[in-house]
């Protein structure tokens, strides 16, 4: 085996009482792609932040190419040849590509020489790795895929031999992700070592040579990718057997519950986000809307749920119109039986500083059963919250805990419990499992299927193609504000991917 590019020995790191990393030992051979997989909060990002000098380990040693390295700041990491592509890009949005690349590596106190050097160096990197990008483009005008490329170039410009990528595909389309994997393989062929952090099993299988699984701050296993399976990795991650494919029977669609006709929605700047969209969702079926984020799905469900004004078009629920261009308001719609799990639980779905029981009734707080005349009936609210905690297995089981202290998956369960338990006729769900652990995903998916089987109409929006495919009875693909195709649940990923990228249906069929 080749020499280890990185070796970590006995790394420990605590944040207060939380032990984020426990006795981590890991060895990453030179010139390989090494995956680190684990649920949210398993400690993957913390470990990599220690390696990049962003945090200090409480104890433990780091060896880079056999040499003991003391990495206290990102500068030390850069000097040791380690580069990092962060999950949230560390780019200055109104700077040009060149300015971003030289930031922190300007060379001299005046910029002209550094810029000139970076420009020629960039051309060399472009030739060597085929990483093309216009050096004078402003970052905010570039698509995310290219922004990520700038991050990779930033690391290479600093002479990185070891590249860490933290959840790199979260913002990419399937095609962009495939392109990224090609780039990573090429970098590997050039002798670079790559560490890929992700919670997506598919990516691990697609691109890595070895994989380490983290759970609750420890490395539970390291495997050769070729000799493991998705099922084994999932079980290692969660600590128990997980059903990756949801079990569901055939849908028994009933009458139309929700009917959308010629809906057009504009955003705050007057740009048309939803363009003449029509579809029906029947009782007892799940209709999934696939698409790359930002193609109008968000605006579509916001308009139906009454949190955004539509420009034109009509929506009817159980045969009665919803005044989407005028006075539709979420409170009234809730009373009529339309529940909405918003895409952004942090900013729209929950008030994070509130206690769990307060969030558990938000929007339903004027229900007489929670009221005592003009006052809230605290006892009724808390006992209701406890029931939901029990039923949805929300952990920790403490209805007085601040909502911010729950994990992403449990926060999502709080929202789902609130919206589902009121027995709505129509459920609109946006990104139900974004930032949610594998174990909780399984639970949430089961709940959604159960809603369907109880004869409810479910409209599901997700950027996770796997989720759309495993849950939906019908799949609509949105691109640039329009519905560009409808497919059955057996549609292949490639077919849907092409539709999502805006390739016309005819071409997709060829």
């Amino acid at each position: 085996m080749a020499q280890a590019a990185i070796e970590l020995k006995g790394i420990n790191k605590s944040f207060g009482a939380v032990r984020a990393n426990r006795d981590i030992d890991i060895e990453i051979p030179q010139g390989t792609i090494h995956g680190i997989i684990g649920e949210n909060g398993a400690g993957k990002s913390t470990l990599m932040s220690i390696l990049y000098g962003f945090y200090q380990a409480d104890s433990g040693e780091i060896f880079v190419k056999g040499q003991k390295a003391s990495i206290h700041t990102p500068n030390d990491a850069i000097a040791a040849g380690i580069g990092m592509v962060h999950q949230h890009f560390m780019l200055v949005e109104n700077f040009t590509v060149l300015e971003n690349i030289i930031l922190g590596a300007e060379g001299a106190s005046l910029l002209n020489k550094g810029i000139a050097k970076a420009r020629s160096e960039l051309q060399r990197l472009e030739k060597e790795y085929g990483l093309e990008v216009d050096p004078d483009a402003v970052i905010e005008e570039l698509p995310v895929g290219l922004q990520q490329r700038v991050e990779i170039l930033k690391a290479l410009y600093r002479g990185a031999e070891i590249l860490i990528l933290d959840e790199p595909t979260g913002v990419l389309t399937p095609a962009e992700a495939d392109h990224l994997f090609r780039i990573l393989r090429m970098l590997k062929d050039q002798g670079k070592t790559i560490v890929l952090i992700t919670h997506k099993l598919r990516e691990i299988m697609a691109v890595t040579d070895n994989v380490s699984v983290m759970r609750q701050g420890t490395i539970v296993a390291t495997r050769k990718t070729a000799s493991t399976t998705v099922e084994e990795l999932a079980e290692l991650m969660v600590g128990r057997r997980v059903l990756l494919q949801v079990e569901k029977g055939k849908a028994k669609p009933g009458d139309f519950k929700l009917s959308v006709k010629n809906l057009t929605v504009k955003d705050g700047r007057g740009v048309t986000m939803v363009d003449d969209v029509s579809f029906d969702v029947r009782a007892g079926e799940i209709v999934g809307i696939a698409g790359v984020a930002g193609n109008g799905q968000s605006e579509l469900i916001e308009a139906i749920a009454g949190t955004r004004r539509a420009e034109s078009g009509s929506v009817t629920m159980k045969g009665k119109p919803i005044d989407v261009t005028g006075t539709a308001d979420p409170a009234e719609l809730r009373k009529r039986g339309l529940a909405h799990v918003p895409e952004d639980r942090h900013h729209v779905g929950l008030v994070l500083p509130f206690e769990e029981n307060e969030n558990a009734i938000l929007g339903y707080h004027d229900d007489p059963k929670f009221l005592n005349g003009a006052f809230l009936n605290i006892d009724a609210i808390r006992s209701d919250a406890r029931e939901k905690i029990e039923k949805y297995d929300i952990r920790p089981a403490d209805c007085r805990l601040r909502t911010a202290n729950f994990s992403g998956g449990n926060q999502q369960k709080i929202v789902l419990a609130r919206e589902m338990e009121n027995d709505p006729g129509v459920l609109i769900v946006g990104q139900p499992t974004r930032g949610v652990d594998v174990g909780a995903i399984e639970f949430i998916h089961k709940q959604l299927i159960a809603m369907r089987d109880r004869g409810k109409a479910v409209l599901l929006v997700s950027v996770e193609l796997d989720e759309i495919r495993s849950l939906s009875d019908r799949i609509l693909v949105m691109f640039d504000g329009r519905v560009v195709g409808e497919r059955g649940p057996d549609a292949t990923e490639g077919e849907l991917g092409l539709l999502m990228a805006g390739v016309e249906a005819q071409e997709a069929a060829e």
Binding site: Y52, N75, M90, L91, N100, G104, S109, N112
Partner: protein, 320 residues
Amino acid sequence: MDTLVQLLDATIRLSVPLLLACLAGLYSERSGIFDIGLEGKMLAGAFASAAAAAATGSAWIGLGAAIIISGMLALVHGFASITNRGNQIVSGVAVNFIAAGTTIILGQGWFQQGGRTPSLPPAARFGAIDLPGAEAMRDVPVLGPIYSDIISGHSLLVYFAFFMVPFTWWVLFRSRFGLRLRAVGENPAAVDTAGISVTWLRYRAVMITGVLTGFAGTYLALAMNAGFVKDMTAGRGFIALAALIFAKWKPVNAMFACLLFGFLDAFAIRYQGAEFPMIGRVPVQLMQALPYILTVILLAGFIGRAIPPKAGGVAYVKER
């Protein structure tokens, strides 16, 4: 013609304190630290310069004292908002209160003139400088009065202020420090991960702000006037902030914004109580309110969206 020359000459004089304060604010705000305490730092600087000049008879020592005192207040703001991640508006307001109160108390305690400092002799002030050839040029038509009366004949601090405009532009867009300064105001995490200290960068920006407000205060006390009078900044720090927004945080725009506000001020003083054709007598109060009315109108819509540095007002905390 004479009236116009006088008006423009007064415009220059009145816009300089705004310009110095505005550029001061530019450095701080570009780094992501909002500074509503420009007014207070300017006032403290004015008092310090007048007091030191009165005690020593030297304008230069006055300037030095102003820079030290304004710089210290800037560090207080920096300590509160960078190191302790406090609310930047609250900290700025506190600086304004400290300056307004202590200048009066110390002024009364030291000089017993109702919060004033003694009137300063010319040697303890920054007097007017005649640029070379100003006399010879005087009789040349058009160019003569522009050069001799409008451009020449100001104090050194006026030329310093206008020199700072291209210099600030050059620092901001052509130097490593400027690149990092702009970056830290937009995305401090990007600066941090590039291996640069966010804290030290922001402290340097805040210190520059302190030094420049010291210059602004000195100009008020030792060049525009002959000593310190209580509350002599009269809201100029806030007008400078308005000019900074109006200028979209760009140095050359800032100069024009400050000249515009200076012109309105000069206009209001020149035409106090004057009769206008068609309109008649305009009340003094309305003329005095003109710069403020214009500020509101301009900020309310004429300049389009002024997008502040994205990380402005937010203390930088690493995740978790």
